[in-house]
């Protein structure tokens, strides 16, 4: 599968995603510059983590106006696969490619740690290599990951299966303590109604090598690669 990794000014996990896809997963990938408009024939677009435009004003609020985002929006509208991790998730919400928004963590501080998330819907291009109920261990590192959406929208999302990942304990159970940032309904990752755009706060690209603490992130990339 051919991937396109977008580099915004202030992207930080762009090189890490590129390395995970190419060196570790053996995929074909190209870096895409935010001032360009060509997606270079990519079959899946990855918006990486970081602090695009310093996250000044609001996370993802400026990046969504980058020239490349016009192309990403069109690509998504045509059914192309788009995944956004962390800041990429925030950008996708700002661009209204995903429902909801990400706000300051409940603790009001940045959190970097490994967490558990439960796969809520395995019938998507992003999760098809897993089973519903599987528990993944993935790192998070963000200051603004508290997912919010209006209650009726959340209800509809749940009904349609758009909640893809939920924070949980190692045993798969939800609890207050297992919800690191205070997200509504412990939501860690969501998809759009067409299930071709996916955003998540955890960093699968930082969980692809056992020496660096785990390989559960591979399952997400393997799912996408199998969806081509």
């Amino acid at each position: 599968m051919k991937w396109g990794v977008v580099r915004f000014p202030g992207s930080l996990d762009d090189n890490d995603a590129f390395y995970a896809l190419t060196e570790v997963m053996g995929q074909e990938a190209a870096m895409l510059w935010h001032k360009d408009t060509s997606l270079g024939g990519a079959e899946c677009i990855l918006l990486p983590g970081g602090f695009s435009y310093g996250d000044y004003l609001r996370t993802g609020a400026i990046a969504r106006f980058s020239p490349i985002m016009r192309s990403v929006e069109k690509f998504a509208a045509d059914g192309g696969l788009v995944i956004g991790t962390c800041n990429g998730f925030q950008i996708l919400c700002e661009a209204h490619l995903l429902p909801g928004a990400l706000t300051r963590n409940r603790s009001l501080s940045f959190i970097c740690e490994r967490v558990h998330v439960r796969v809520e819907n395995a019938r998507t291009p992003f999760t098809r290599a897993m089973r519903q109920g599987d528990v993944l261990t993935l790192p998070i590192k963000h200051g603004e990951g508290l997912y919010v959406a209006p209650e009726d929208e959340l209800r509809q999302m749940e009904e349609r299966g758009q909640v893809i990942l939920r924070y949980c304990g190692a045993d798969g159970r939800e609890s207050e303590a297992a919800n690191p940032n205070g997200s509504m309904r412990a939501i860690a990752g969501v998809a759009n109604e067409r299930f071709n755009v996916f955003g998540l706060m955890p960093h699968p690209e930082h969980a692809v090598e056992s020496m660096l603490g785990g390989t559960d992130g591979r399952k997400i990339f393997e799912s996408i690669a199998a969806s081509a």
Binding site: L12, F51, P139, G213
Partner: protein, 744 residues
């Protein structure tokens, strides 16, 4: 060329010189160098460049004595912005530690943030991509009203900057002690990697080459940060110095890193230096002086945030995220294209000249004209009087006669913020970005892999102010070997040192003596372990209202391992493994956390045998390389009992330990909670113990086979205590958040 005085400028006289921090002798010397009275602008320039912070005028004599060479050293000692060590497979590690103490006390968030930003620029100005940061923090006691505010601000600032700039914070240390109530310490370390043979220089070359200003525009922030804030004691007026603290913009720094590293690939950069302390003035005059040349600056070309800035302010501003580049003539456009791509200023503001003068023009007039070397190499150097205080320090009380029961003491120890988990702090730092962090915060040392190589780097920063307060020489030695031992515990050979020397007012002979003794200890220890001191920073004037901090040399050690797969962690791995204790000398309560909690000790520090210390380091590395060790953990704050408990706190599987100390006569308070040099707790498969023992015994060190790892979470130190590990872990993790949340 005689510079002009500008309308409305204050008159320059001795009183004005003193207000700028110059002594009468220094003021007279300025006049002698110039052959006339300085202009107000020039006075400002001399004041920052001759400040302690920039000139190292009190410390230079001593720093020359440090070992700066080894077969691996590519760049060591003065002359460039950071030290560099060849770590193999075509890579060079560039690293340095620096203080940002006073700014962080006055304005904790921005002070700490810009400390991180400044040290990062020292690394990428050498052509190295920053790959890891560490920090060493000293706060006052929790009882002090300012402590919670300061720790929140400092940790927030380090995270706010480091996380946004995309460099992982992988290790550090945090200590609370009333001695830092009025003067906290914030020391920031950064490490970068460059390809061998591709380091950049900060030495101007080529008369007629253009000087490019790149990065943020210049504002009015940070003026006299280096001189009036960093090079003077604190007093009641210090709050008013808040405007001398710079404001950081990590987003721009991230762009600057990418743009500079990309610009370097053009080959058009002749020399480059960041505009750190003393900003435009220091970067331009130092590059000129190193090259034995001059530089002419046209201040009208400098990008400004506020057009009303005077030449004095433009030259002295410490606005962040700015670099100065000497480019190859005719290739400016190539560089400018790169910076434009990253939306950064890149403006030609001057050129290299042959006349060795540092000259600044503004609105058609020369406003400063000074021999470049007078600002740098020829700045005053002092051999200040140094002698121990004639008055013995206050007599210390003996250990309280009734010591608490060992179990009570252990629980109190694990609940003490100096010993307890620092997760509340390091959880706020991105420790994994860039994808190299094999071992992050919370262990003995951090381990970073080098992509495309089997090699890995280990990093640790340490300090031991309590030992330094008892004996500034032995304390400095102990600090170096502790950092080195931490690095050896993870299986890496110590190959290089950087230091941040935090002391009081050097104009007091007792402080100067502490400093001289500290540097002597640092040098002796560095020589003994074969790890040269390749870079560093001195922070004097850490005093508030006449009270100095304890001598605090902060030491960071770089370790190298040839096979990352052989790194060792601190946690016990398997039930049934043997637990062994190896040490160089019996422990002591002197300078220990136990002594601080239950009454000062009147003991003196155990003398350190550097031959045995080096043998311990070597033994640890050899055992790791031969895969003989399951875990290794250094005995530090809290002593042996705490170290064994920590080794049980394996996040994968909480294990226990059964250790019979009484068999070796180790069950008393000193053995359980003593910290002296040097003890390591090791676990190993039973069949490896014989080989492991041989490794140490051939180096003259005995091993105590003390016990075994248990499957159940129980800490049984026979003859002393028997505790539940899960309960101890709860105390250990809850202590710091609990202290920060309570408002008693």
């Amino acid at each position: 060329m005689k510079p002009v005085a500008l309308p409305g400028e204050p008159r320059v006289d001795l009183a004005q010189g003193r207000a700028h921090g110059l002594s009468a002798e220094e003021f007279a010397r300025v006049e002698q160098i110039l052959g006339r009275v300085a202009t107000f602008t020039e006075l400002g320039v001399f004041s920052v460049m001759w400040s302690e912070h920039c000139s190292y005028k009190s410390s230079r004599k001593y720093l020359r004595t440090l070992p700066q060479k080894s077969e691996l050293v590519v760049q060591g000692g003065p002359g460039e912005n950071a030290g560099a060590i060849d770590v193999g497979d075509g890579w060079v590690a560039v690293f340095k530690i620096e203080s940002h103490n006073h700014p962080s006390y006055v304005e904790p968030y921005q002070g700490a943030a810009t400390g991180v930003g400044g040290i990062l620029r020292d690394i990428f100005t050498m052509g190295a991509r920053p790959i890891a940061s560490m920090n060493s923090l000293k706060f006052g006691s929790f009882d002090h009203p300012r402590t919670r505010y300061l720790i929140g601000g400092v940790v927030g600032g380090i995270g706010g900057y480091g996380n946004c700039v995309g460099v992982p914070t992988v290790a550090g240390e945090v200590m609370f002690d009333a001695a830092y109530n009025g003067n906290i310490l914030v020391n920031a370390f950064s490490l970068g990697l460059a390809r061998a043979g591709e380091l950049w220089s900060a030495r101007a070359r080529g008369v007629g080459n253009p000087v490019l200003y790149v990065g943020s525009a210049t504002g009015r922030d940070g003026i006299h940060g280096a001189s009036l804030l960093a090079s003077a004691e604190f007093d009641a007026e210090s709050e008013s110095k808040r405007p001398t603290v710079q404001v950081g913009d990590p987003f721009t720094e991230k762009l600057l890193i990418e743009a500079c590293l990309e610009a370097g690939k053009t080959g058009a950069i002749v020399a480059i230096q960041d505009m750190g302390a003393a900003g435009l003035t220091s970067s331009s005059s130092e590059m000129a002086a190193r090259g034995g040349l001059g530089i002419d600056l046209d201040l009208d070309q400098v990008p400004l945030r506020d057009q009303s800035l005077t030449p004095y302010e433009i030259l002295l501003s410490e606005s962040q995220e700015r670099m100065l580049i000497v480019a190859e003539r005719g290739r400016e456009a190539e560089l400018q294209a790169v910076f434009e791509k990253w939306d950064l200023h890149a403006v030609v503001i001057g050129e290299v000249t042959a006349d060795k003068r540092w000259r600044a023009r503004w609105r058609g007039q020369v406003v400063a004209d000074i021999p470049a070397a007078a600002l740098t190499d020829d700045a005053p150097v002092y051999d200040r009087p140094a002698h121990a205080s004639a008055k013995p320090s206050a007599p210390r009380a003996r250990i309280r006669r009734e010591n608490p029961a060992p179990a009570v003491a252990l629980r109190a120890m694990l609940s003490n913020p100096n010993v307890a988990s620092k997760r509340w702090v390091f959880r706020q730092y991105d420790s994994i970005v860039q994808g190299n962090t094999v071992l992050g915060p919370g262990g003995d040392a951090a381990v970073l892999r080098i992509k495309g190589s089997h090699r890995a780097l280990a990093l640790k920063v340490d300090s031991n102010p309590r030992a330094c307060a008892l004996d500034p020489y032995a304390g400095a030695v102990a600090t170096v070997i502790e950092a080195a031992r931490n690095v050896a515990c993870v299986g890496a050979r110590p190959v290089g040192i950087t230091n941040c020397l935090n002391y009081g007012n050097p104009e007091r002979p007792e402080i100067m003596w502490q400093f001289a003794e500290g540097v002597r200890g640092l040098g002796d220890a560095a020589r003994a372990i074969g790890a040269p001191v390749v870079s560093g920073n001195v922070s004097f004037y850490n005093e508030t209202e006449g009270r100095a901090i304890p001598p605090t040399p902060t030491i960071a050690v770089l370790g190298l391992m040839t096979d990352v797969a052989r790194h060792v962690t601190a946690h016990f791995k398997r039930a049934g493994d043997a637990i062994a204790i190896v040490r160089t000398a019996p422990p002591s309560l002197a300078a220990s956390e136990y002594a601080a909690m239950y009454g000062e000790s009147d003991e003196t520090l155990t003398p350190i045998d550097l031959v045995r210390e080096n043998a311990l380091l070597e033994g640890l590395v050899v055992c790791a390389e031969q895969r003989l060790i399951g875990s290794a953990h250094d005995v530090a704050e809290g002593g042996l009992a705490v170290a064994i408990a920590e080794a049980c706190f394996n996040p994968e599987a909480r294990l226990g330990a059964e250790v019979d100390l009484s068999a070796h006569g180790l069950a008393d308070t000193v053995e359980l909670f003593g910290e002296g040099p040097s003890t390591v707790v090791i676990s190993a498969a039973p069949q490896d113990i014989a080989a492991l023992t041989r490794v140490f015994s051939t180096r003259g060190l005995a091993i105590y086979q003390a016990g075994r790892v248990l499957a159940e979470p129980r800490l049984a130190l026979h003859g002393a205590l028997d505790e539940n590990i899960n309960e101890l872990f709860e105390l250990y993790e809850a202590a710091l958040p609990g202290r920060l949340a309570s408002h008693d």
